[in-house]
Amino acid sequence: MTPPEAATAGSGAKADAPELVILSGNEAIARGAWEAGVRFASAYPGTPSTEIMEALAKYEDVYAEWAPNEKVAIEAATGAALAGARALATMKHVGLNVGADPFFSSSMIHMAGGLVIVSADDPAMHSSQDEQDNRTYAKFAKLAMVEPADADEALQYIKAAYEISERFGTSVLFRTTTRTSHAQGVARFGERATPAGPLLELERDPSQQLMMPHNAIPRHAAVEQRLLDLADFAETTALNRVEMGDTRVGIVASGAAYGYAREAFPQASFLKLGMSWPLPKRLIAGFRAQVEKLYVVEELDPFLEENIRLQGVVVDGGKDILPLCGEFSPGLVARTLSAAGVPGVDESLLLVVPAADEDLPDRPPTLCPGCAHRGVFVALRRLRAFVSGDIGCYSLGALAPFNAMHCSTCMGAGISMAHGMARVLDEDADTKNRPVAVIGDSTLFHSGITSLLDVAYNRSNVVTVILDNRTTAMTGGQENPSVGKTLQGHDAPLVDIPALVRSLGITRVREIDPLNVAETQAVLKEEIASDEPSVVIAVSPCVLEYRIKRPAYRVDPDVCTGCKVCLRAGCTALSLYRNGDGEPRVEIDPAVCSGCSVCSQLCRYEAIRPPLTDDGKDA
């Protein structure tokens, strides 16, 4: 049984909403943005940020959209703020790299409406390719940063972020992590601040909004003054608070790390920073003066620590004790700080119980039963192709048993990296070394089109496989230009991917059924052998998102030889057992099987059979 959909955000939009509710941090950000009177919101999905826009889209009086990428999302939100609306853009941490250009620009121009940009960072890389610490972006772009520690703070602080944005004329970086975005907590609802009237005209002020050098030069000076004003504000805002306890130990913390430290050292004194850039110099110095030892507890980079030290404040412990990598927990903070001599630890967190799991089988993520990506990766493995991958469910093609992806970095890079490889590989190199780029529909729209244009324009013999499953699958099935619907349920035109590819100048365009392994393999083999840019488009809707469940296949135990070739399909519906004679045989769990037939195409003995026909006969 699954939980009722939108039990929180949906009901939260009603006037009779309960006072206290349990929300995820992301749902709380959406609620807080709605209460702040946000009119416009744009995002590209990315774990752990996705649910903010999904929740916000359900509120009335808010326009919310999926943009093709984060750069577009920030630019659109900047435009909406310039036009006078409170605007929101949300993304995962690496999404801000894509949006960095307009993020910096947003710091330079004056907007009539507040602009908040949410970056959801992913310490421990639960679902990411790096664990960059985006707090540095706030310093780099010279704007204000707000960090909530839990769901209630997320709801209240985003409202404060809009106040800061409009009062100081700055865009605000609202920084969360996986444990503040996805963790649920008790939050307090408020009322929506209704935006004043319809926006009817665009104010024209090029000196503040058109950043050519003659305007940008004075704006830079204004930005530097703004930072000083923000630092003054940081001294007194309620977002930053001192919680005095045992004066032997003072801890500076923000975000989820505050909660871990608070439980590990329940009696200690805390300076809890909810506005973590620019830093309140006098508040920090005053706190330092009241405690014997000062520790900074922060995940990832020593962002607070270094900037506090730069103010001449003595820090007794930070990244010399605590790890730079991964996420923290109460136990980790308790163990590391108490080992360094910090008194007052909660002893119950120091208990070390050995794990019993050394020999237990790993349970890595894998392609869903019925997933059409499976046929493509079976074919690519058989061809021993070099596969330049990208970001999406199909990244799982890198894992056993496929092992059919050899590089993958950031969104859209698969095609352009393959182009670089193809351009330097000698013509006499074996075709198996000719790179094949693999990219999904949503990632193609995000940042693959310009890469494909590079291949087309500069004529490299890259084969690009577009896995069009008609959704943004890895983040949970969001709408995109290959779906025909928008985030808020309106009809939208479908991108004609073959026509798009041809319009770039690529003439070799093949369309395949990825669940037909032999055809897929034959087409890929031909295209790899060709000397031109080539695109192979595999259209097959996501089984999860479109709830595709075909009748299950079955194994004839008298024909199965136990050769295990079918297991190379890497499908969790298949398993080995031993028959009465102790011989290995394969069986299919009909509750799990989605009837895609890829395993039966791999079987050399026709032991894996289609479902029985309606009258009970073998098909």
Partner: protein, 197 residues
């Protein structure tokens, strides 16, 4: 308010087993009983057939959404290997409630390794305070195997500072329409296995 120490429940299972609903019910009961509540699980790539854990904590004031190994009051495991994998998260004397179900990881389905035998014996040795539940069979008896997660809630109920009636009322409101009766029957069967007559 009386001083109520933090109660930690770790739920472990495999994507699709209903870990999220179980956490949803427990957190809403805790809120209704006036507790501060925090709950954390990871979405994203972990959902694709990987293991799923949910940390649920309630008390007068909860700061951290994460439990620390060695401090869980209850470990609720929906799969036997996932029970053994997390048993060291229990505090001394804590209760393990686990489903005897076996869900093959892809490492087993692809023939790379075999599903380990003797998990029950290893659990019994590692953690005597354990209840084993055939949640799938009980759920089927109640009307649908999909209610195995609700059977598990029943099987752990006696370890919670909540009444079964409180859990029942939240389950009724949390499950899809027209599945209330089958889920409450599943919950009842779980309660019965936990307290043998």
């Amino acid at each position: 308010m009386t001083d109520r120490p933090i109660f930690n429940i770790l739920i472990s299972g495999v994507g699709g087993q209903g870990v999220v609903l179980a956490s949803y019910v427990l957190s809403r009961v805790a809120l209704a009983e006036g507790y501060d509540v925090k709950q954390s699980e990871v979405h994203g790539m972990a959902q694709r057939g990987g293991c799923v854990t949910s940390h649920l904590r309630f008390g007068d004031k909860v700061y951290s959404a994460l439990i620390t190994p060695g401090t869980a009051d209850v470990l609720l495991s929906f799969e036997q290997v996932e029970a053994l994998r997390y048993v060291h998260w229990l505090k001394p004397g804590g209760l393990l409630v686990y489903n005897s179900a076996r869900v093959n990881p892809v490492t087993v389905s692809s023939g790379a390794v075999e599903y380990p035998e003797g998990i029950d014996e290893r659990i019994a040795e590692a953690w005597p305070n354990a209840r084993k539940v055939d949640a799938g069979a009980l759920a089927a008896r109640a009307g649908t195997v999909k209610a195995a997660n609700v059977v598990m809630l029943g099987a752990m109920a006696s370890a919670l500072p909540f009444t079964p009636e409180m859990l029942e009322s939240v389950i009724r409101k949390s499950v899809p329409p027209r599945t209330e009766d089958v889920n409450l029957a599943a919950f009842q069967l779980g309660l019965e296995v936990a307290v043998p007559a």
